[in-house]
């Protein structure tokens, strides 16, 4: 039994140390993984993401990456991601769900395509601002967006979005701006309870409602 005791003591110590170390790094490693995955999943023909260098990992190193705004300058925790006008190609980077403290996402004016994730509120529950305008996104505006409780701004203009705008978006209590111009959306626009929401529905042939063409009585 003395032998087993000798085996267990160093094992416990090593495990103890390992768990302490992983405890310290938990929460910021996911943000590093988030950005690395985003970079790997997108085509960046003009190398805008050149500053995204993952070789020398110091405290807060991702905070100096282009387009990355951190909560605190010396902590790897992303607050906003702004990658506008970078000729980026590819699908919506779902790995962004690993940036668990993200509140602002701006991917506007790129060449992104495919759908807006149907589970966007699960990926980004704390989103306050979403700008996907001027891309090639297609498919519908996901119902999940109505679960982004804290969202203040939604800009989806200039894409190829189709189908109806989920009526449930009218339940978003903090929404201040909702612009979806220049898409292929149809059906009635949401009936926002907050009359002060800034909206833009122009250039969607099928949309109907107040200040647009009358909705058919079905």
């Amino acid at each position: 039994m003395v032998k087993s005791r000798q085996i267990f003591s160093p094992l416990s110590s090593v495990t103890f140390l390992f768990l302490i170390i992983s405890d310290i790094t938990y929460g910021t490693d996911t943000d590093i993984f988030c950005l690395k995955s985003i970079k790997d999943s997108l085509k960046d023909p003009q190398n805008y993401l050149q500053s995204w260098n993952f070789n020398h990992k110091t405290e807060g190193f991702i905070c100096s990456f282009i387009g990355v705004e951190c909560w605190h300058p010396d902590e790897n925790r992303v607050l906003n991601l702004k990658l506008s006008q970078m000729t980026l190609t590819g699908l919506f980077p779902r790995a962004i769900g690993n940036c668990t403290s993200l509140t602002g996402l701006d991917l506007s004016a790129n060449n992104l395509s495919g759908i807006i994730p149907e589970n966007i509120a699960t990926l980004l529950p704390f989103l306050t601002s979403l700008d996907l305008s001027s891309n090639d996104f297609s498919g519908v505006i996901p119902l999940s967006l109505a679960n982004c409780t804290y969202i203040n701004t939604i800009k989806l203009d200039q894409n190829q979005l189709s189908g109806q705008i989920p009526q449930q978006l009218s339940l978003l209590q903090r929404l201040k701006t909702f612009t979806v111009s220049n898409n292929s959306l149809v059906g009635p626009v949401p009936n926002f309870t907050n009359a002060h929401v800034l909206v833009n529905y122009s250039n969607n042939k099928g949309l109907c409602g107040p200040s647009l063409k009358h909705c058919p009585n079905n």
Binding site: S12, T15, I20, L79
Partner: protein
Amino acid sequence: MERLTSSFMSSFFVWAILVLDLVLKASGNQEGDALNALKSNLLDPNNVLQSWDATLVNPCTWLHVTCNSDNSVTRVDLGNADLCGQLVSQLGQLTNLQYLELYSNNLSGKIPEELGNLTNLVSLDLYLNNLTGPIPTTLGNLAKLRFLRLNNNTLTGGIPMSLTNVFSLEVLDLSNNYLEGEIPVNGSFSLFTPISYQNNPGLIPPKNAPSPVSPTPPPASSGLLMPVLPLLLLYADSNFSLSY
């Protein structure tokens, strides 16, 4: 008689200019005095304040102090400096201050109300210290404030409603304190999510808030599960040794 009067008048005039000059010179060092009052209230084991010489005409040559072209203090950068002690009300006299960076030290005591006089303040970073007491309501006067990071202290009381009128606010972090009461959602606070308020057990989430998807896990210092597991191992270890 007239000559006497006019010479008296000109002497008085010269005297008045000299006095005014002296007063102006003395008040020009008021910001240095304010910073010196802070230095006197701090323990500085790493001597980061060694260059803070109160006999100089202004503090603009002091390390960690930045001035504008009028020799008025715009930045105080003392983050991560192992400083102990308390803040002083005189900080409110630095009327052109834009950045007050005192994060990651061992500062204690309260946040002075007089910081509400710093109407040019853009960034107030007092996070990762041992500050106590309330968030002063006067911070609602900081109409240019963009960054308010008071997280990881032992602040108590409520979140002042006056802050909802600071429309320049972009980043708010009040997490890891002992704040209580309701979380404002109006005005500028429409932008802030549960992330800003994590780990304040007494804070009441706004009505109609969803059952929170678990926000970012708490920082390492307050993690509970990780230390428990190795303790269980050690317990098993001691048990095992007893059984033989």
